[in-house]
């Protein structure tokens, strides 16, 4: 029970700095990236007018997210599309990864959602400066009255925390509940059911919510 909150790490020193790598998270993340690369290669190899199942899955994903991004940003090009679609595919696989025995969800480690949250934060603010200019970007912080400046900064920063803790909490909470329930009741039905509920159902929705919020933050910055 106690090992639930500890993360296995490789610790080594490099030039006087202690460096810790979360080994399980890293290995699982690389495996997921490998799966995504193989999926993309297989789905786009020999594309046909009448698609095979893999190609139609990829087409479904791409058209859905293309519509979503186009709808939200109203840009002529597709510059944010790869980020959003890739983010969803990666997070979806991360969240459902724990269904396979012995594998662990990388999103169960706070570092993964926090990293992606900071990525979205930096990209959205960079886009804000690029689209509105530095002056237009900064003016937003002094609305409606200049006095609100510190409050606006705090609420802007709280978005990063909320977006990453939302994902982390849902996946971690699901994992804890599955472990606790399977420790308390020796049932063959309940733990697998919970696994499917928290893995597939909650995992998919949370991956989508994370992606949509990143998209919405970008769109509020560039408009």
């Amino acid at each position: 029970m106690e090992d639930l909150t500890t993360i296995s790490q490789w610790v080594f020193t490099l030039g006087g700095y202690k460096i810790a790598l979360n080994s399980v998270t890293l290995i699982n993340t690389w495996m997921i990236m490998g799966v995504l690369v193989i999926f993309s290669l297989l789905a786009t190899r020999r594309t046909k007018l009448v698609p095979n199942p893999l190609q139609s899955l990829a087409e479904l994903l791409i058209t859905t997210f293309d519509d979503l991004v186009r709808d939200a940003l109203e840009l002529d090009d597709r510059r944010y599309f790869p980020l959003i679609c890739g983010m969803f595919m990666f997070l979806f696989l991360c969240n459902v990864w724990g269904i396979i025995p012995t594998f662990e969800e990388p999103t169960k480690d706070l570092n993964t959602p926090l990293g992606l949250g900071i990525l979205g934060f930096v990209i959205s603010h960079y886009s804000g400066i690029k689209f509105k200019g530095l002056k237009g970007y900064l003016r937003v912080y002094f609305e409606p009255i200049p006095f609100m400046f510190p409050l606006n900064i705090v609420s802007e920063l709280s978005r990063v925390v909320s977006i990453s803790f939302r994902l982390y909490g849902n996946i971690m909470g699901g994992a804890i509940i599955i472990i606790v329930v399977s420790n308390l009741v020796y049932s063959l039905v309940l733990p697998p059911f919970l696994n499917v509920f928290f893995g597939l159902f909650v995992g998919t929705i949370q991956a989508f919510v994370f992606t949509m919020l990143t998209l919405v933050y970008i769109s509020t910055q560039i408009k």
Partner: protein, 323 residues
């Protein structure tokens, strides 16, 4: 002395049981009454659909009752089981009861909203009765997740062995763990119910929007769930951290403060995010082309309204780790 501790543990277990089912019954009572009220109105509008409305009302009420049944299970276990005789166990048992009691309050009330609105919808659009029932089932079931979190924390408080931990700060940590999840579940339970109720209204108005409304409802509910998740996280930290014994009451007060901060802080954002979801879903059916726009606005609004629960979590984390 041993006998006195035994009495203390028994007393705490009975107190916890009373609080669990007492508070837990409030939610189910309100939710079921709300459903029955709407069902009566629906039947008076369309008496020929009384059978459908009645069936739907009973299913909805059964779902609204499940949170109270979780509370009943915890209360029965607290009354009937034998527990270790030491002071920290007594605190853990009382905390388990309080956690489950508060945790069943919100989901019970919340599950009444979709059930009532579904009854109303059946009388307006009898043709949609099956899709209304199905969506209501999903929406009400999602409402119960925060009650499930409370039940899990209550079970952890009851069945894990805390006897090796020093009483002074650790008892406060366990009590705070119960408060955090239990109180935070109130807001999320009500909020998710509000969102699901909005979805029912939209399906009754525009039967073709079932798919879109269900998807948006699930997204809105998932976001409204966040404060309960934060409460669960803080509870887990409080349950797993073992504090060395202390002389003063400072650490204990800080830990209690952390639990209260996160628990109370989760109520408002949960209800607020649910209200945002309710309006967004309600208007989705009237103007289907802007479904995406409404869902996006809902998400922004919900995310902003949850920032206060983030502040509460930050204060709780500071109280746990810094003080």
């Amino acid at each position: 002395m041993a006998l006195e501790v035994q009495i203390l543990v028994k007393g705490a277990a009975y107190l916890g049981a009373g609080v669990a089912i007492g508070l837990g019954a409030i939610g189910a009572g309100v939710g079921e009454g709300y459903t029955a009220g709407f069902a009566n109105r629906a039947i008076s509008m369309k008496p020929e659909k009384a059978g459908d409305v009645l069936k739907n009302m009973l299913i909805g009420q059964a779902l609204a009752e499940s949170a109270a049944i979780f509370a009943l299970v915890i209360a029965m276990l607290l009354v009937l089981m034998e527990f270790q005789a030491n002071a920290i166990t007594a605190v853990a048992l009382a905390a388990a009861g309080i956690c489950m009691g508060f945790g069943a309050l919100g989901p019970g009330i919340g599950a009444g909203f979709p059930a009532g609105r579904a009854c109303e919808g059946i009388s307006r659009q009898p043709a949609t009765s099956s899709s209304l029932s199905n969506t209501m089932l999903v929406g009400s079931a999602v409402c119960q997740t925060s009650a499930i979190y409370s039940m899990v924390v209550a079970l952890m408080l009851m069945f894990f062995d805390y006897s090796t931990r020093a009483f002074n700060p650790n008892a406060a940590a366990l009590f705070a763990a119960g408060l955090s999840t239990g109180l935070a579940a109130i807001g999320s339970g009500i909020g998710e119910g509000l969102t699901a109720g909005g979805a029912m209204q939209t399906i009754a108005r525009q039967p073709t929007s079932v798919g879109r409304a269900t998807a948006s409802m699930l997204i809105g509910q998932a976001v409204a769930e966040t404060p309960a998740i934060f409460g669960l996280l803080i509870s887990m930290i409080l349950l797993f951290r073992v504090y060395p014994g202390a002389e003063s009451v400072i650490t204990a007060a800080a830990l209690l403060g952390a639990g209260l901060s996160m628990g109370l802080g989760g109520i408002g954002p949960g209800i607020g995010s649910g209200a945002a979801g309710e309006y967004a879903l309600n208007w989705l059916g009237r103007n289907e082309e802007i479904g995406g726009l409404l869902t996006r606005t809902m998400l922004v609004g919900q995310a902003v309204s949850q920032s206060t629960s983030i502040y509460a979590m930050v204060i709780a984390l500071v109280l746990i780790f810094v003080v």
